[in-house]
Amino acid sequence: MKHRIIPAVVFLLSIYIGYHATLSKVPNVMMKGAYERLSAGATPINDFSVPRMITDKNQTIVRPSPDLAYSVCLIDLSQGPIWVRGGKTEGYGSLTIFDMKSDVVIVKDLSDKNFTVKRSVLIGEGGFDVHGDKAIALIRRYAPNLESFERIKLEAKEDYCGPVKNQN
């Protein structure tokens, strides 16, 4: 009897460990994959990409919204903290910082008409902790048509993602 119970327990325990170990790593694996795919797709490190609309031809992340213009900055803190700022936007807009566990570290409303919301954040030493040396900054702006997308391209000139000493 003992010869059968022990192997069965070892087998079930292995399933349990494999299940929970994998589950806990899924967010990291997905974020790492997204970071690498975006990097391979010419998304800059410590700089915002120019805004772009997502279509069926250029989608790299699951379930993108085709009604938004996205600007992405791949944050790398290995050389020090990074300053991130989202330019104000006439329509809906938000700046979100994600850590590599896929958690939202901070989200900023860029459409605040009264300018009561500070639209810039310091990431890394002295600022927000992203629990590692990588993170993703994502700006979303509502772009229902070509006209609004042209406006957004001008608004995005105020976006900044880079070393603290260069921010202006």
């Binding site: 087998f11 299940y19 699951v62 229902p144």
Partner: protein, 194 residues
């Protein structure tokens, strides 16, 4: 059994167990979360997870959100409702035509409905894969067709789903989601006659 045989048996059992556990976790996390996972909200056939974007959720919810909603906004900015079935509970599929009707007022600054294929991407060459509230201007109600040549195109989508995004939701959308009146999706016809 010899000592070598026992070691080999345990090694196989451990490796096999770890692989089965890993496979179950990976494939299971790609599914739409069930009622007991996260902070599930049900409004008719639409379901949402209000725990998206927070770190205070259990590992299973976090894995599911990472697989199906990576880089999603927290509920203060947007809530995401998804449906995979029509108003009769039948799975949404490419070969059928549907009518989606509802109120343009859904307790948010603006909203959109996007059609995703069975792999969670915008369907290839479909064209019309999203609608927004702005398309209906000041109208109180809206009605759109969902078919291969409809206002929302099902072309190349397979077993698709619809995602309704409510941006900058009102406080009551979070605290009392049962008050929401979300769009109905009625099946009209199917190519196979079903």
């Amino acid at each position: 059994m010899s000592k070598f045989g026992r070691i080999l048996l345990y090694a196989i059992l451990i490796i096999l167990g770890l692989l089965i556990g890993a496979y179950t976790a990976w494939t299971g996390s790609a599914k739409i979360p069930s009622a007991e996972v996260g902070q599930r909200v049900f409004v008719g056939e639409w379901t949402a997870d209000y725990s998206i974007g927070t770190s205070a959720t259990d590992p299973k919810t976090r894995a599911m959100v990472a697989r199906r909603g990576l880089l999603a906004l927290p509920r203060s900015e947007a809530v995401y409702f998804t449906r995979t079935t029509d108003s009769d509970g039948q799975a949404l599929r490419e070969g059928c035509a549907y009518a989606m009707t509802g109120s343009t007022q859904m307790g948010s600054l603006w909203w959109s409905v996007t059609l995703y294929d069975q792999d969670d991407f915008l369907p290839r060459d479909a064209g019309n894969y999203s609608i927004t509230v702005d398309q209906f201007e000041a109208a109180k109600d809206f009605s759109v067709s969902i078919s291969k040549n409809g206002d929302l195109s099902t072309r190349n989508s397979g077993a698709f789903d619809l995602t309704l995004r409510l941006y900058k939701p009102s406080d009551w959308v979070i605290s009392e989601p049962a008050r929401l009146a979300l769009p109905a999706v009625k099946r009209l016809t199917c190519e196979d006659g079903s």
